[in-house]
Symmetry: C2
Subunit: 274 residues, 2 copies
């Protein structure tokens, strides 16, 4: 079991809070880690965010996010890469455990999945030396196949892992997000194969029915269908020593009082994973 000392709250779970408020919330509820989002970091300022986190004695388990590499024209691809370089620098300054990469879906106007996947691999190859110089670890996150067309052509942990393995393990790993991978019959085998490559572990539950915007259909741990104990054990057995980050994108949870959300995150985590 992972234990509360490795619990992290991803800022997207309390999306209405500023970075400063999210940091305060974690301190108040004795959540030792936080996953930050770039837009909220930019609001507070990079140096000030880093200082605030340090003063709060929190650990930054991830910076969300880089990626979205798939574009039809060269200028857009170059712009995406430039933005990812900036994201690497931000992750370095924040000393985040990983910069999470959501790779991008099909190239606009194209049905060629292989092209999208080559474009993603090429972009990551260009980003690797930048990350290496900065001492930042990239985390390739496979998204659920229902996001394949529009958000992420990397749809399985095994696929993310095969891609990561082209590069040094300390620079490129994979992110295991329970929501995206729980259904995969190869999951246990792929997590075992990912030993030394797990750059992040995110948790939320699969709940039904899916809402109109399926991006926001995630649930509190225990409200849905995922066996968290099993997946956490697999991740631990694979030697993962990082944080377990609860990231729940859900408009109803965003509208709930943040204290209530943090309490629920902590309690559910304690019940299911401690």
């Amino acid at each position: 079991m992972i234990g509360l000392r490795r619990l992290s709250l991803n800022q997207a779970t309390v999306r209405n809070l500023t970075a400063a408020d999210a940091i305060r919330l974690c301190v108040k509820h004795e959540i030792p880690g936080i996953g930050l989002w770039r837009d909220r970091v930019a609001e507070l300022g990079l140096a000030r965010t880093a200082a605030t986190v340090t003063a709060a004695s929190l650990h930054i388990s991830s910076l969300c996010r880089g990626g979205f590499f798939t574009h039809a024209d060269a200028d857009a691809r170059a712009a995406a890469l430039a933005d990812n370089r900036v994201a690497v620098m931000e992750a370095a300054e924040l000393q985040a455990d990983t910069l999470i990469l959501v790779s991008g879906g099909l190239v606009p106007g194209s049905r060629d999945l292989a092209l999208a996947r080559r474009m993603i691999a090429d972009a990551i190859a260009e980003l690797v030396p930048v990350a290496q110089d900065a001492g930042v670890r990239l985390g390739i996150e496979p998204l659920h196949p229902m996001f394949c067309a529009d958000r992420c052509a990397i749809t399985r942990l095994g696929e993310a892992l095969d891609l990561a393995m082209r590069f040094p393990a300390d620079t490129v790993g994979v992110v295991v997000d329970t929501y995206h991978v729980w259904w995969d019959s190869q999951l246990a085998a792929d997590i075992a194969r990912a030993a030394g490559r797990i750059a992040g572990f995110q948790l939320c539950d699969w709940v039904l029915p899916l809402p109109r915007d399926v991006l926001l259909g995630r649930g509190h741990l225990g409200d849905g269908f995922i066996d968290f104990g099993l997946i956490a054990d697999l991740v631990l057995v694979a030697g993962y020593t990082g944080y377990a980050e609860v990231e729940i994108l859900n408009a109803e949870i965003w509208d709930a009082p943040a204290d209530e959300t943090a309490l629920k995150v902590r309690n559910r985590f304690a019940d299911l994973l401690c």
Copy 2:
């Protein structure tokens, strides 16, 4: 390319029609195959459906469907199996190319995916001798992972294939439905591996956004993101000689005039696959 002489219309595409009307529609629009649903067959009567199809010189590419094997109590499992035995007899009487199996999701009240998958395998093992005696071929259909919790724990073609391969190839095959498998980076390898095991080939497009009921979010060929030419070529190269069945579950298409739908199905198929 597959060619119009192997086009089939699955009845679910024109769900408001009776079996007799769907059969007439196929004849009118020179669609030589039809995929039938058990509830509509029951309305018309089994023998009468068989006679009507024969009189119309249509070919029955599939009967939909058996499966839904995952139940918490033994009585419900036995009832499911009994119903599947009846479905096998119906498929035999209709001389359908395959009885499509949608396996069922998690066992109600359980988060144990391995249990659901064992239960599915056990049920199919019980059904195989029945199918063998009746000369019916079972087609295990993997559904898209977004249906894993509630409809089908078999989420990838490779997983369906591994299950099918425990049994004789002429009794148990797999169904390739573009909507469910298009996103899979292992798809080409798994279709190749499925040579001699492809019991059915269904087509519809992945369109966005997903509707409120994600079961009904499918689109006409060409309206979405799927490269049909690529997948059809893979299926043909694997030696598939059966029909290509257009099955589109979509409430708007159900509300459209059936003639318009049949025309569009035929034209899009001709454009993309002939």
